[in-house]
Symmetry: C2
Protein backbone atom coordinates (compact mmCIF):
# COMPACT_ATOMS: atom_id res chain seq x y z
CA UNK A 1 0.00 0.00 0.00
CA UNK A 2 2.61 2.55 -0.95
CA UNK A 3 2.21 5.96 -2.49
CA UNK A 4 -1.10 7.15 -1.18
CA UNK A 5 -2.55 9.60 -3.56
CA UNK A 6 -2.60 13.12 -2.31
CA UNK A 7 -6.18 13.66 -3.28
CA UNK A 8 -7.21 12.30 -6.63
CA UNK A 9 -10.70 10.96 -6.42
CA UNK A 10 -12.05 13.63 -4.15
CA UNK A 11 -13.58 15.03 -7.19
CA UNK A 12 -12.97 18.64 -7.77
CA UNK A 13 -11.70 21.00 -5.17
CA UNK A 14 -10.49 18.69 -2.50
CA UNK A 15 -10.78 21.19 0.33
CA UNK A 16 -7.02 21.24 0.39
CA UNK A 17 -7.08 24.60 -1.31
CA UNK A 18 -3.58 25.51 -2.48
CA UNK A 19 -4.93 25.80 -5.98
CA UNK A 20 -6.69 28.64 -7.65
CA UNK A 21 -6.85 26.71 -10.88
CA UNK A 22 -9.74 26.89 -13.31
CA UNK A 23 -10.48 23.29 -12.43
CA UNK A 24 -13.50 24.08 -10.38
CA UNK A 25 -16.63 25.10 -12.03
CA UNK A 26 -18.37 25.00 -15.31
CA UNK A 27 -17.36 28.53 -15.86
CA UNK A 28 -20.34 29.77 -13.98
CA UNK A 29 -18.88 31.35 -10.91
CA UNK A 30 -15.71 33.10 -11.84
CA UNK A 31 -13.58 33.18 -8.71
CA UNK A 32 -12.82 30.51 -6.16
CA UNK A 33 -11.33 32.25 -3.12
CA UNK A 34 -9.79 29.10 -1.67
CA UNK A 35 -12.98 28.13 0.18
CA UNK A 36 -12.06 28.91 3.74
CA UNK A 37 -15.31 29.64 5.46
CA UNK A 38 -18.82 28.27 5.13
CA UNK A 39 -20.30 24.82 5.28
CA UNK A 40 -17.91 22.24 3.89
CA UNK A 41 -18.85 19.80 1.21
CA UNK A 42 -19.92 16.39 2.37
CA UNK A 43 -17.25 13.81 1.72
CA UNK A 44 -19.70 10.97 2.08
CA UNK A 45 -21.78 12.52 -0.66
CA UNK A 46 -18.75 12.36 -2.96
CA UNK A 47 -18.26 8.70 -2.31
CA UNK A 48 -21.96 7.98 -2.75
CA UNK A 49 -22.10 9.89 -6.01
CA UNK A 50 -19.08 8.17 -7.52
CA UNK A 51 -20.34 4.77 -6.45
CA UNK A 52 -23.74 5.56 -7.89
CA UNK A 53 -22.09 6.64 -11.12
CA UNK A 54 -20.33 3.30 -11.46
CA UNK A 55 -23.55 1.49 -10.65
CA UNK A 56 -25.36 3.43 -13.34
CA UNK A 57 -22.56 2.71 -15.80
CA UNK A 58 -23.02 -0.98 -15.23
CA UNK A 59 -26.79 -0.93 -15.56
CA UNK A 60 -27.27 1.71 -18.22
CA UNK A 61 -23.98 2.26 -19.98
CA UNK A 62 -22.52 5.59 -20.99
CA UNK A 63 -25.12 6.94 -23.36
CA UNK A 64 -28.18 6.21 -21.23
CA UNK A 65 -26.60 7.42 -18.03
CA UNK A 66 -28.23 10.62 -16.81
CA UNK A 67 -27.11 12.88 -14.01
CA UNK A 68 -30.58 12.96 -12.58
CA UNK A 69 -30.54 9.20 -12.23
CA UNK A 70 -27.14 9.26 -10.58
CA UNK A 71 -28.33 11.86 -8.11
CA UNK A 72 -31.32 9.73 -7.18
CA UNK A 73 -29.17 6.65 -6.71
CA UNK A 74 -26.74 8.55 -4.54
CA UNK A 75 -29.50 10.07 -2.45
CA UNK A 76 -28.50 13.65 -3.20
CA UNK A 77 -30.14 16.46 -5.09
CA UNK A 78 -29.35 16.93 -8.73
CA UNK A 79 -28.17 20.44 -8.02
CA UNK A 80 -25.52 19.11 -5.67
CA UNK A 81 -24.11 17.11 -8.52
CA UNK A 82 -23.92 20.10 -10.79
CA UNK A 83 -22.22 22.14 -8.09
CA UNK A 84 -19.29 19.72 -8.03
CA UNK A 85 -18.92 18.50 -11.57
CA UNK A 86 -19.18 20.34 -14.83
CA UNK A 87 -20.99 17.50 -16.55
CA UNK A 88 -21.21 13.83 -17.33
CA UNK A 89 -17.69 13.62 -18.71
CA UNK A 90 -15.92 14.91 -15.63
CA UNK A 91 -18.07 12.83 -13.32
CA UNK A 92 -17.38 9.59 -15.14
CA UNK A 93 -13.66 10.29 -15.31
CA UNK A 94 -13.52 10.56 -11.55
CA UNK A 95 -15.74 7.54 -11.05
CA UNK A 96 -13.63 5.39 -13.36
CA UNK A 97 -10.33 6.72 -12.03
CA UNK A 98 -11.08 5.20 -8.64
CA UNK A 99 -11.06 1.79 -10.23
CA UNK A 100 -7.37 2.15 -10.97
CA UNK A 101 -6.44 2.86 -7.38
CA UNK A 102 -5.69 -0.77 -6.74
CA UNK A 103 -3.12 -0.92 -9.55
CA UNK A 104 0.28 -1.77 -8.11
CA UNK A 105 3.65 -2.87 -9.39
CA UNK A 106 4.57 -6.26 -8.00
CA UNK A 107 8.19 -6.95 -7.13
CA UNK A 108 8.53 -10.47 -8.35
CA UNK A 109 12.23 -10.45 -9.11
CA UNK A 110 12.09 -10.75 -12.85
CA UNK A 111 10.88 -8.32 -15.47
CA UNK A 112 8.74 -10.92 -17.16
CA UNK A 113 6.89 -11.72 -13.97
CA UNK A 114 6.47 -8.02 -13.19
CA UNK A 115 4.94 -7.34 -16.57
CA UNK A 116 2.67 -10.34 -16.37
CA UNK A 117 1.48 -9.30 -12.94
CA UNK A 118 0.72 -5.74 -13.91
CA UNK A 119 -0.98 -6.75 -17.12
CA UNK A 120 -3.23 -9.20 -15.31
CA UNK A 121 -4.19 -6.54 -12.77
CA UNK A 122 -4.87 -4.04 -15.51
CA UNK A 123 -6.92 -6.55 -17.44
CA UNK A 124 -8.96 -7.41 -14.36
CA UNK A 125 -9.95 -3.77 -13.98
CA UNK A 126 -10.78 -3.40 -17.65
CA UNK A 127 -12.93 -6.51 -17.50
CA UNK A 128 -15.38 -4.80 -15.17
CA UNK A 129 -18.39 -3.45 -17.02
CA UNK A 130 -18.18 0.00 -15.46
CA UNK A 131 -14.67 0.35 -16.82
CA UNK A 132 -15.57 -0.98 -20.23
CA UNK A 133 -18.44 1.38 -20.83
CA UNK A 134 -16.95 4.40 -19.11
CA UNK A 135 -13.30 4.51 -19.99
CA UNK A 136 -13.39 4.55 -23.76
CA UNK A 137 -16.32 6.94 -23.76
CA UNK A 138 -14.43 9.60 -21.88
CA UNK A 139 -11.36 8.99 -23.99
CA UNK A 140 -13.46 9.60 -27.07
CA UNK A 141 -14.84 12.80 -25.62
CA UNK A 142 -11.43 13.93 -24.47
CA UNK A 143 -10.22 14.11 -28.05
CA UNK A 144 -12.35 17.24 -28.42
CA UNK A 145 -11.84 18.93 -25.06
CA UNK A 146 -8.42 19.83 -23.80
CA UNK A 147 -9.61 20.25 -20.23
CA UNK A 148 -11.08 16.78 -20.21
CA UNK A 149 -7.94 15.38 -21.79
CA UNK A 150 -5.85 16.82 -18.98
CA UNK A 151 -8.20 15.39 -16.43
CA UNK A 152 -8.03 11.92 -17.95
CA UNK A 153 -4.30 12.13 -18.15
CA UNK A 154 -3.82 13.22 -14.56
CA UNK A 155 -6.38 10.88 -13.04
CA UNK A 156 -5.85 7.73 -15.05
CA UNK A 157 -3.13 7.63 -17.65
CA UNK A 158 -0.20 9.05 -15.76
CA UNK A 159 -0.80 6.72 -12.86
CA UNK A 160 -0.48 3.78 -15.22
CA UNK A 161 2.56 5.15 -16.92
CA UNK A 162 4.40 5.48 -13.66
CA UNK A 163 4.30 1.71 -13.32
CA UNK A 164 6.20 1.45 -16.58
CA UNK A 165 8.82 3.90 -15.40
CA UNK A 166 9.35 2.08 -12.14
CA UNK A 167 9.33 -1.38 -13.61
CA UNK A 168 11.82 -0.35 -16.25
CA UNK A 169 14.13 1.17 -13.68
CA UNK A 170 14.11 -2.04 -11.67
CA UNK A 171 14.80 -4.11 -14.75
CA UNK A 172 17.72 -1.90 -15.69
CA UNK A 173 19.13 -2.25 -12.19
CA UNK A 174 18.93 -6.02 -12.60
CA UNK A 175 20.54 -5.83 -16.02
CA UNK A 176 17.49 -7.18 -17.79
CA UNK A 177 17.10 -4.07 -19.90
CA UNK A 178 19.81 -1.90 -21.45
CA UNK A 179 20.44 1.48 -19.86
CA UNK A 180 19.64 4.59 -21.84
CA UNK A 181 21.68 7.54 -20.65
CA UNK A 182 20.02 10.13 -22.84
CA UNK A 183 16.88 11.23 -21.01
CA UNK A 184 15.11 12.18 -24.21
CA UNK A 185 15.63 8.73 -25.70
CA UNK A 186 14.63 7.14 -22.45
CA UNK A 187 11.39 9.10 -22.38
CA UNK A 188 10.57 7.95 -25.87
CA UNK A 189 11.23 4.37 -24.91
CA UNK A 190 8.97 4.64 -21.89
CA UNK A 191 6.22 6.09 -24.03
CA UNK A 192 6.62 3.33 -26.55
CA UNK A 193 6.46 0.59 -23.93
CA UNK A 194 3.49 2.19 -22.29
CA UNK A 195 1.50 2.47 -25.49
CA UNK A 196 2.39 -1.08 -26.46
CA UNK A 197 1.40 -2.62 -23.14
CA UNK A 198 -1.68 -0.58 -22.35
CA UNK A 199 -2.76 -0.47 -25.96
CA UNK A 200 -2.56 -4.19 -26.46
CA UNK A 201 -4.48 -4.97 -23.29
CA UNK A 202 -7.15 -2.36 -23.97
CA UNK A 203 -7.53 -3.44 -27.58
CA UNK A 204 -7.73 -7.09 -26.69
CA UNK A 205 -10.35 -6.45 -24.02
CA UNK A 206 -12.52 -3.76 -25.57
CA UNK A 207 -12.12 -4.06 -29.32
CA UNK A 208 -11.43 -7.72 -29.90
CA UNK A 209 -13.58 -8.62 -26.94
CA UNK A 210 -11.40 -11.52 -25.93
CA UNK A 211 -10.24 -12.24 -22.39
CA UNK A 212 -6.73 -11.43 -21.26
CA UNK A 213 -5.92 -14.79 -19.71
CA UNK A 214 -2.60 -16.15 -18.57
CA UNK A 215 -1.91 -17.80 -21.87
CA UNK A 216 -2.29 -14.54 -23.76
CA UNK A 217 -0.22 -12.66 -21.21
CA UNK A 218 2.63 -15.15 -21.53
CA UNK A 219 2.68 -14.83 -25.29
CA UNK A 220 2.47 -11.07 -25.17
CA UNK A 221 5.21 -10.73 -22.58
CA UNK A 222 7.47 -13.04 -24.52
CA UNK A 223 7.17 -10.98 -27.68
CA UNK A 224 7.56 -7.69 -25.90
CA UNK A 225 10.58 -8.70 -23.86
CA UNK A 226 12.40 -10.18 -26.79
CA UNK A 227 11.75 -6.97 -28.66
CA UNK A 228 13.06 -4.78 -25.89
CA UNK A 229 16.08 -6.81 -24.92
CA UNK A 230 18.61 -5.36 -27.34
CA UNK A 231 16.81 -2.12 -27.87
CA UNK A 232 19.57 0.40 -27.15
CA UNK A 233 21.03 2.97 -29.49
CA UNK A 234 19.33 1.93 -32.63
CA UNK A 235 16.66 4.56 -33.03
CA UNK A 236 18.75 6.15 -35.76
CA UNK A 237 19.00 2.95 -37.74
CA UNK A 238 17.80 3.14 -41.32
Amino acid sequence: MPHRNSGHHPPVISLTAAQESPVYGHGMQSRRPASRTGRPRSATADAAILAATREALVELGWSKLTLGDVATRAGVAKTTLYRRWAGKNELVVDAVAELFDELELPDSGSLAADIEGVVLQFAAILARPEAKSGLMAVVAESTREDALRSRVRASIVDRQKRLVVEGRARAQARGELPAEPDPSTAARTVDLIFDMVAGAVVHRTLVSGEPVDEEWVRGFTAVLLRGLAAEAGRTAAG
Copy 2:
Protein backbone atom coordinates in the same frame (compact mmCIF):
# COMPACT_ATOMS: atom_id res chain seq x y z
CA MET B 1 -6.23 -2.35 -55.60
CA PRO B 2 -7.16 -5.90 -54.73
CA HIS B 3 -10.13 -7.29 -52.82
CA ARG B 4 -12.94 -4.92 -53.52
CA ASN B 5 -15.41 -5.09 -50.73
CA SER B 6 -18.62 -6.79 -51.63
CA GLY B 7 -20.80 -4.13 -50.09
CA HIS B 8 -19.84 -2.85 -46.70
CA HIS B 9 -20.61 0.79 -46.41
CA PRO B 10 -23.98 0.67 -48.08
CA PRO B 11 -25.43 0.97 -44.70
CA VAL B 12 -27.99 -1.56 -43.84
CA ILE B 13 -29.67 -3.74 -46.37
CA SER B 14 -27.56 -3.23 -49.39
CA LEU B 15 -30.29 -4.10 -51.85
CA THR B 16 -28.36 -7.24 -52.56
CA ALA B 17 -30.85 -9.17 -50.49
CA ALA B 18 -29.48 -12.67 -49.95
CA GLN B 19 -29.74 -12.11 -46.22
CA GLU B 20 -32.71 -12.48 -43.97
CA SER B 21 -30.59 -11.54 -41.00
CA PRO B 22 -31.87 -9.47 -38.08
CA VAL B 23 -29.52 -6.73 -39.14
CA TYR B 24 -32.17 -4.50 -40.54
CA GLY B 25 -34.48 -2.64 -38.33
CA HIS B 26 -34.87 -1.41 -34.85
CA GLY B 27 -37.14 -4.29 -34.17
CA MET B 28 -40.09 -2.33 -35.37
CA GLN B 29 -41.09 -4.14 -38.50
CA SER B 30 -40.61 -7.81 -37.96
CA ARG B 31 -40.02 -9.29 -41.39
CA ARG B 32 -37.91 -8.14 -44.30
CA PRO B 33 -39.16 -9.96 -47.39
CA ALA B 34 -36.02 -9.29 -49.42
CA SER B 35 -37.33 -5.95 -50.72
CA ARG B 36 -38.03 -6.76 -54.31
CA THR B 37 -40.72 -4.35 -55.40
CA GLY B 38 -41.51 -0.74 -54.59
CA ARG B 39 -39.51 2.42 -54.72
CA PRO B 40 -35.85 1.73 -54.01
CA ARG B 41 -33.91 3.60 -51.42
CA SER B 42 -31.90 6.51 -52.65
CA ALA B 43 -28.22 5.65 -52.75
CA THR B 44 -27.24 9.29 -52.89
CA ALA B 45 -29.14 9.85 -49.67
CA ASP B 46 -26.99 7.21 -48.02
CA ALA B 47 -23.82 8.91 -49.09
CA ALA B 48 -25.12 12.30 -48.03
CA ILE B 49 -26.19 11.00 -44.63
CA LEU B 50 -22.89 9.31 -43.90
CA ALA B 51 -20.94 12.36 -45.01
CA ALA B 52 -23.15 14.56 -42.89
CA THR B 53 -22.56 12.27 -39.94
CA ARG B 54 -18.81 12.63 -40.27
CA GLU B 55 -19.18 16.36 -40.62
CA ALA B 56 -21.26 16.52 -37.46
CA LEU B 57 -18.73 14.33 -35.67
CA VAL B 58 -16.02 16.83 -36.49
CA GLU B 59 -18.00 19.86 -35.44
CA LEU B 60 -19.95 18.52 -32.50
CA GLY B 61 -18.33 15.31 -31.35
CA TRP B 62 -20.13 12.17 -30.33
CA SER B 63 -22.17 13.30 -27.38
CA LYS B 64 -23.60 16.45 -28.95
CA LEU B 65 -24.36 14.82 -32.27
CA THR B 66 -28.10 14.50 -32.85
CA LEU B 67 -29.89 12.62 -35.59
CA GLY B 68 -32.05 15.58 -36.33
CA ASP B 69 -29.01 17.68 -37.03
CA VAL B 70 -27.52 15.02 -39.28
CA ALA B 71 -30.76 14.82 -41.23
CA THR B 72 -30.77 18.57 -41.77
CA ARG B 73 -27.16 18.56 -42.90
CA ALA B 74 -27.82 15.73 -45.31
CA GLY B 75 -30.93 17.39 -46.70
CA VAL B 76 -33.22 14.48 -45.84
CA ALA B 77 -36.06 14.07 -43.42
CA LYS B 78 -35.39 12.77 -39.96
CA THR B 79 -37.78 9.92 -40.54
CA THR B 80 -35.70 8.72 -43.46
CA LEU B 81 -32.77 8.37 -41.15
CA TYR B 82 -34.72 6.29 -38.68
CA ARG B 83 -35.97 4.04 -41.46
CA ARG B 84 -32.41 3.00 -42.28
CA TRP B 85 -30.58 3.01 -39.01
CA ALA B 86 -31.65 1.87 -35.61
CA GLY B 87 -29.96 4.76 -33.83
CA LYS B 88 -26.91 6.88 -33.36
CA ASN B 89 -24.61 3.95 -32.70
CA GLU B 90 -25.31 2.11 -35.92
CA LEU B 91 -25.15 5.27 -37.97
CA VAL B 92 -21.77 6.30 -36.63
CA VAL B 93 -20.35 2.82 -37.09
CA ASP B 94 -21.18 2.96 -40.78
CA ALA B 95 -19.94 6.52 -41.14
CA VAL B 96 -16.63 5.71 -39.49
CA ALA B 97 -16.24 2.41 -41.29
CA GLU B 98 -16.01 4.21 -44.61
CA LEU B 99 -12.87 5.93 -43.39
CA PHE B 100 -11.10 2.61 -43.34
CA ASP B 101 -11.86 1.82 -46.96
CA GLU B 102 -8.57 3.27 -48.09
CA LEU B 103 -6.59 0.95 -45.86
CA GLU B 104 -4.37 -1.24 -48.01
CA LEU B 105 -1.46 -3.55 -47.52
CA PRO B 106 1.59 -2.29 -49.39
CA ASP B 107 3.89 -4.82 -51.01
CA SER B 108 7.21 -3.28 -50.27
CA GLY B 109 9.29 -6.42 -50.23
CA SER B 110 10.19 -6.54 -46.55
CA LEU B 111 8.02 -7.15 -43.54
CA ALA B 112 9.37 -4.12 -41.73
CA ALA B 113 8.44 -1.82 -44.58
CA ASP B 114 5.01 -3.43 -44.87
CA ILE B 115 4.29 -2.90 -41.20
CA GLU B 116 5.51 0.65 -41.26
CA GLY B 117 3.39 1.42 -44.28
CA VAL B 118 0.21 -0.01 -42.82
CA VAL B 119 0.78 1.61 -39.45
CA LEU B 120 1.27 5.00 -41.04
CA GLN B 121 -1.91 4.60 -43.06
CA PHE B 122 -3.83 3.49 -40.01
CA ALA B 123 -2.47 6.38 -37.99
CA ALA B 124 -3.41 8.86 -40.68
CA ILE B 125 -7.01 7.71 -40.50
CA LEU B 126 -7.07 7.80 -36.72
CA ALA B 127 -5.66 11.31 -36.75
CA ARG B 128 -8.80 12.65 -38.39
CA PRO B 129 -11.17 14.19 -35.88
CA GLU B 130 -14.21 12.27 -37.10
CA ALA B 131 -12.39 9.02 -36.41
CA LYS B 132 -11.13 10.15 -33.05
CA SER B 133 -14.49 11.15 -31.68
CA GLY B 134 -16.52 8.43 -33.33
CA LEU B 135 -14.51 5.26 -33.16
CA MET B 136 -13.90 4.93 -29.46
CA ALA B 137 -17.43 6.02 -28.66
CA VAL B 138 -18.98 3.17 -30.58
CA VAL B 139 -16.44 0.75 -29.16
CA ALA B 140 -17.49 1.85 -25.70
CA GLU B 141 -21.13 1.37 -26.53
CA SER B 142 -20.47 -1.97 -28.17
CA THR B 143 -19.30 -3.43 -24.90
CA ARG B 144 -22.94 -3.45 -23.81
CA GLU B 145 -24.69 -4.46 -27.03
CA ASP B 146 -23.86 -7.65 -28.82
CA ALA B 147 -25.50 -6.54 -32.04
CA LEU B 148 -23.43 -3.41 -32.14
CA ARG B 149 -20.32 -5.38 -31.33
CA SER B 150 -20.92 -7.62 -34.32
CA ARG B 151 -21.44 -4.63 -36.52
CA VAL B 152 -18.21 -2.99 -35.41
CA ARG B 153 -16.36 -6.21 -35.90
CA ALA B 154 -17.70 -6.84 -39.38
CA SER B 155 -17.40 -3.27 -40.62
CA ILE B 156 -14.14 -2.17 -39.08
CA VAL B 157 -12.13 -4.63 -37.06
CA ASP B 158 -12.12 -7.64 -39.33
CA ARG B 159 -11.04 -5.57 -42.28
CA GLN B 160 -8.01 -4.44 -40.32
CA LYS B 161 -7.23 -7.88 -39.10
CA ARG B 162 -7.15 -9.25 -42.61
CA LEU B 163 -4.15 -7.06 -43.31
CA VAL B 164 -2.31 -8.81 -40.52
CA VAL B 165 -3.18 -12.22 -41.92
CA GLU B 166 -2.01 -11.33 -45.40
CA GLY B 167 1.11 -9.53 -44.33
CA ARG B 168 2.09 -12.41 -42.11
CA ALA B 169 1.57 -14.91 -44.90
CA ARG B 170 3.82 -12.91 -47.21
CA ALA B 171 6.49 -12.66 -44.56
CA GLN B 172 6.38 -16.38 -43.96
CA ALA B 173 6.75 -17.00 -47.68
CA ARG B 174 9.83 -14.79 -47.65
CA GLY B 175 11.18 -16.59 -44.60
CA GLU B 176 11.02 -13.49 -42.42
CA LEU B 177 8.65 -15.12 -39.96
CA PRO B 178 8.60 -18.72 -38.75
CA ALA B 179 5.82 -20.92 -40.07
CA GLU B 180 3.21 -22.18 -37.64
CA PRO B 181 1.65 -25.38 -38.90
CA ASP B 182 -0.95 -25.67 -36.15
CA PRO B 183 -3.90 -23.48 -37.24
CA SER B 184 -5.01 -22.88 -33.67
CA THR B 185 -1.60 -21.57 -32.67
CA ALA B 186 -1.45 -19.51 -35.83
CA ALA B 187 -4.79 -17.92 -35.07
CA ARG B 188 -3.61 -16.96 -31.61
CA THR B 189 -0.48 -15.42 -33.05
CA VAL B 190 -2.48 -13.40 -35.54
CA ASP B 191 -4.73 -12.15 -32.77
CA LEU B 192 -1.74 -11.22 -30.67
CA ILE B 193 -0.06 -9.30 -33.47
CA PHE B 194 -3.28 -7.56 -34.34
CA ASP B 195 -3.96 -6.41 -30.81
CA MET B 196 -0.38 -5.27 -30.40
CA VAL B 197 -0.25 -3.27 -33.61
CA ALA B 198 -3.72 -1.76 -33.59
CA GLY B 199 -3.70 -1.32 -29.84
CA ALA B 200 -0.41 0.53 -29.77
CA VAL B 201 -1.39 2.89 -32.57
CA VAL B 202 -4.82 3.58 -31.13
CA HIS B 203 -3.46 4.12 -27.65
CA ARG B 204 -0.70 6.38 -28.87
CA THR B 205 -3.13 8.47 -30.89
CA LEU B 206 -6.22 8.63 -28.70
CA VAL B 207 -5.04 8.06 -25.15
CA SER B 208 -1.54 9.46 -25.08
CA GLY B 209 -2.50 12.04 -27.66
CA GLU B 210 0.89 11.94 -29.35
CA PRO B 211 1.41 11.75 -33.10
CA VAL B 212 2.39 8.53 -34.80
CA ASP B 213 5.29 9.88 -36.81
CA GLU B 214 7.97 8.00 -38.70
CA GLU B 215 10.31 7.99 -35.78
CA TRP B 216 7.79 6.32 -33.54
CA VAL B 217 6.82 3.84 -36.21
CA ARG B 218 10.45 2.83 -36.72
CA GLY B 219 10.91 2.22 -33.02
CA PHE B 220 7.68 0.32 -32.72
CA THR B 221 8.35 -1.86 -35.73
CA ALA B 222 11.84 -2.65 -34.52
CA VAL B 223 10.58 -3.86 -31.15
CA LEU B 224 7.72 -5.84 -32.64
CA LEU B 225 9.76 -7.56 -35.32
CA ARG B 226 12.52 -8.54 -32.95
CA GLY B 227 9.88 -9.98 -30.67
CA LEU B 228 8.22 -12.00 -33.40
CA ALA B 229 11.33 -13.27 -35.13
CA ALA B 230 11.92 -16.42 -33.12
CA GLU B 231 8.40 -16.78 -31.93
CA ALA B 232 7.60 -20.34 -32.95
CA GLY B 233 6.62 -23.18 -30.66
CA ARG B 234 7.26 -21.55 -27.38
CA THR B 235 3.77 -20.82 -26.15
CA ALA B 236 4.13 -23.69 -23.72
CA ALA B 237 7.27 -22.28 -22.21
CA GLY B 238 7.14 -21.70 -18.46
